[in-house]
Subunit: 333 residues, 4 copies
């Protein structure tokens, strides 16, 4: 049994709270939020103790693990505190928008030897896991071309985009991680073309809402990732891995199987409305994997360094977007 | 807020218990089972009180509603007790395998004026609801041909079949209800051909495991329902309604969207493993509809008489199976 | 090389003419039609000789084979003339609407020992052939339930229905043949429910436009065949064979792969407009099989007796429709 | 009626010959090939006159139009001869591998005022035409992201690759044309990453077999085109156009609708075996459009300048592949 504190009681914090409460090997003991009333609301619901004093969490010897679900700019600091306090960490992405700050926090965690897992929950999507397994089993042969799509239904608020770090660091980064995980291959170069098509305000804050990234993997294979912030037909993400002998794909996720037939036409279910509908089931599975690894003192399934590595790639991609040139991705962290 | 007692703590009772505990307008107060330890297990989990004395439930003035999820042969008796005690009832199918006994219990409930809803949960399946809505909206025009399929992955134990009432009363009956609900039309005649193909023991207990039922609706339309107990490719149920101008279908429910491409071949996800995987989500929605109707003192969405009517059709179907002749379905209850 | 005469220059005759002209092992020499101008039109196009005198065809020693594509009521007579003249025959269905007349003509052909192939061209549809092969290979295990659908886009003229022999003999009969061919099993009993829903005039000429046939095969398996003359969503035919271990189907045939995605909705290609679009490719393959068998002096792929047997089943189905009772299908021809 | 000479009697010449013979408004009079026996074989089959002297074609006043289907390095010369002789031209792609030579021949044709149509036959694929129509109708809104895939089943002979001009000029060029035609927008910049993964010999002749091209259109939209010479799962080409309000796609073209269901798995038809199976139907439609335009003295549907423009883009793409830099695409021809 692992005793948990949840750090952050916003939207994604509530998702994690429900999962912590239902996880059989978790004692969901504490909830922290800078907004005391938000913390209290969750704590009441799940019989946990609320606090707006994060020190109370880290000094509590009963706490085994913290789940960092607070705003992005607090992740690195909380990670360092957890390192100092010797608590295990389940951490929402990213570690920090600044690669330097992220590296510094990661070094602290590494030095302290605490178990840290990044919540790369898409790895727990049944379809992506099936693609991973097929590629790793050798079913497709040598990987030659990977195609990834990530498209959301609406532009986030411009105020959010301004502090998001840009499309590569905020949206495409999830697929940089999936790419490494599925293929087991490191990307060595990236070129990104981007455009602000949904709203001129996106360009004014120095970002893009539509982009195509082309990467080259260490084995010579090519990768294309298209990212869009606002599309008109729902939420669309998919992955296709074509190898030297076969191809496997996690195709678009339709919401049902109701078919309306008319003259010359079939009308059927479209896609999920948004990212949460598409991947909500993965949060619980990701948490389960963390708890299971803690219980078995096993290596972390999505270790902190994977989070750092995805950020290194996003950094090079952002540079390509700015310089309009292909950029070599440095090795290591 | 409605205070509930759960009657029956077996497999389906546990499903209902989880839903009762999570329903915001339900106070889940009591659990009854003839096996005290089974009752206690659920009660402990959800902070309810356990009992193996059903009178304790019916004499408790705090209880507003009972959820009958005990073994089939106890439904009618519990329904009559609820009528006598003035409790609302959410009742698993069927009322009783004997149409006479079912009619008697229904009469008592009717006389007492208690709200009773049959748990015809498939009506709350998103796909079937979409077919219902399309047909009721007039999208398909006049209904002309309805095709229904219900196929399970494995033969139930022969001991179960022996007391099940036979395939029409036990399996096909759900689709007799869906047929009436989706089309809003009464069937007037039925012919059933059946066979015991999966195991000779099925025939020995006087039952069939494979059947095709043909019904004629009051407007002249035709219906075909195929029912199989044991198929080799998972769990398959679907409904197709073809009208004078268009067609709508709830197609097979595949479990995912992972595609493996090889030379001349695409391999992809198959069907659900069993009925529970296919319709588990509908139990909660069905319960929600009951609670909502209670809260609003509104008419019951799937009233007791619909349960009785489905049994009347199943009775005629069983007779056709035995006599090898088309059988007229009597009007009314 | 086989020298052919085409008998009948109507719509289906023109289809056969194009195939005869393109078949490398056929010398397309003569065209007969009672309407000399229709015969001449085809003859001119393909450098054949036209005639409205059928004797000129049968007395021509150069003719090896005749293709009977004239109106149904002439088939039996032409077949007998071919038997007398010793010509091979490729014969459109049916032999005759009267089973007695058909038997008589078949007896003559049999006595003369001429090669006769029925144009059961659906056997040459790639999808149905794949289902046949899967079933015959044992892939599905023992056949347990066969589902067939045959639905056309519009009601034929009432004048045609009046002389068509009724829906069983005219439409469903093709699937009686496919059923025997795919499963290799004889049906032993049939029950048919029918209705005239598209037009009251259908009932006035003693026919139905919508029907469900239930058959029992000699191994105990069940079969359901739904037939509709007029549906609103194009042309729909499909076959599904469920066995003791797996299932195989020839699903609906959509016309393309263009997808239009909008909010919550996918709009895509519907079905073929009519039967000709669906199966046009099969006529040539059927002819090829006949020519190939002639060239190799091999047994006929779809022998005359298969035509007779399908009619025997259609006869019993028609009787069931009239008597409203299940009817035993006699063995043999 | 247009009198045609076919120039070139190889594989694609035979395809054109069959279509010329079947086209009702074409008199298929002459066949030229440097190999007299190849010309004679086609001429015999379709009652045309064979020659290995191309002057005999151009000096024949009866010839209205020539169909250039000879080897690529002869196209430009034949086009100039046709210009000099005043014959209409239906021309296989490309005009010439050298953009300079192509420009020169195009100038001659332009000066002579002869009607010239490039055989951009993919424009006549029903799926691509539907995508074109949807985009041009405004259905998708403003074009924002176009995704195109072109993947063949096997590496062409290295000897062919050596003279092919490289993957951009030989394979991807068809999609440069489709891109312009479907969107009605000019590309202004291109970046291409390529790799030789199928065979090291591809790199030795200075070519790639796998590539991703990223283009920017004049309205700011982005385009990704992946091209592969050798994949393991058949022939795969598709196009997707995502606009500001909806998305439309010509999806993978599967070869049938036969489904095999087993436990947890559905096995179904894969893709076409090769490019010819996928687009064979388009050659006739493309020819029909040319003949129709000639008959009506209407503008050419795919004029010579479109062929030149696709080559201009391929030239820039080839330069990007070599320089490893994004390259601006010059305006005009």
């Amino acid at each position: 049994m692992q005793t948990f504190a949840l750090l952050g009681a916003g939207f994604i914090g509530r998702v994690h709270a429900e999962n912590l409460a239902a996880q059989p090997n978790v004692d969901f003991a504490r909830v922290f939020d800078v907004d005391a009333s938000r913390a209290a609301e969750i704590a009441d619901r799940y019989d946990a103790a609320a606090t707006d004093d994060v020190d109370a969490v880290f000094t509590d010897p009963a706490i085994d693990a913290v789940l960092i679900a607070s705003s992005t700019n607090t992740h690195a600091d909380l990670l360092k505190r957890a390192a100092a306090a010797g608590k295990a960490v389940f951490c929402e992405k990213p570690i920090d928008l600044s690669l330097e700050v992220a590296r510094d926090a990661a070094a602290a965690a590494r030095a302290a030897g605490i178990p840290v897992m990044m919540d790369f929950n898409r790895r727990y999507d049944a379809a992506y896991a099936a693609v991973h397994d097929a590629v790793q089993s050798g079913e497709v042969g040598q990987v030659e071309l990977v195609s990834m799509t990530t498209r959301g239904p609406s532009l986030p608020p411009i105020a959010y985009l301004e502090v998001s770090g840009g499309q590569m660091r905020d949206q495409t980064v999830h697929f940089f991680d999936l790419l490494r995980w599925i293929t087991g291959l490191e990307p060595v170069e990236v070129y990104v073309a981007g455009a602000a098509l949904a709203d001129p305000a996106v360009a004014e804050v120095g970002d893009v809402d539509t982009s195509v990234a082309v990467l080259r993997l260490v084995n010579g294979a090519l990768v294309q990732i298209d990212s869009q912030r606002r599309i008109g037909y729902g939420y669309d993400e998919r992955i296709e891995v074509n190898g030297s002998v076969r191809m496997v794909e996690a195709a678009r996720h339709r919401t049902g199987f109701v078919n309306h037939y008319g003259p010359g036409e079939l009308r059927t279910n479209g896609l999920d409305a948004g990212w949460f509908e598409r991947i909500r089931g993965t949060y619980r599975k990701s948490l389960d994997a963390f708890v299971d690894a803690l219980e078995r003192s096993a290596p972390m399934p999505a270790p902190l360094d994977d989070g750092l590595r995805a950020q290194v790639i996003a950094e090079a991609a952002t540079q390509s977007l700015r310089t309009h040139q292909p950029v070599a991705i440095p090795e290591g962290l």
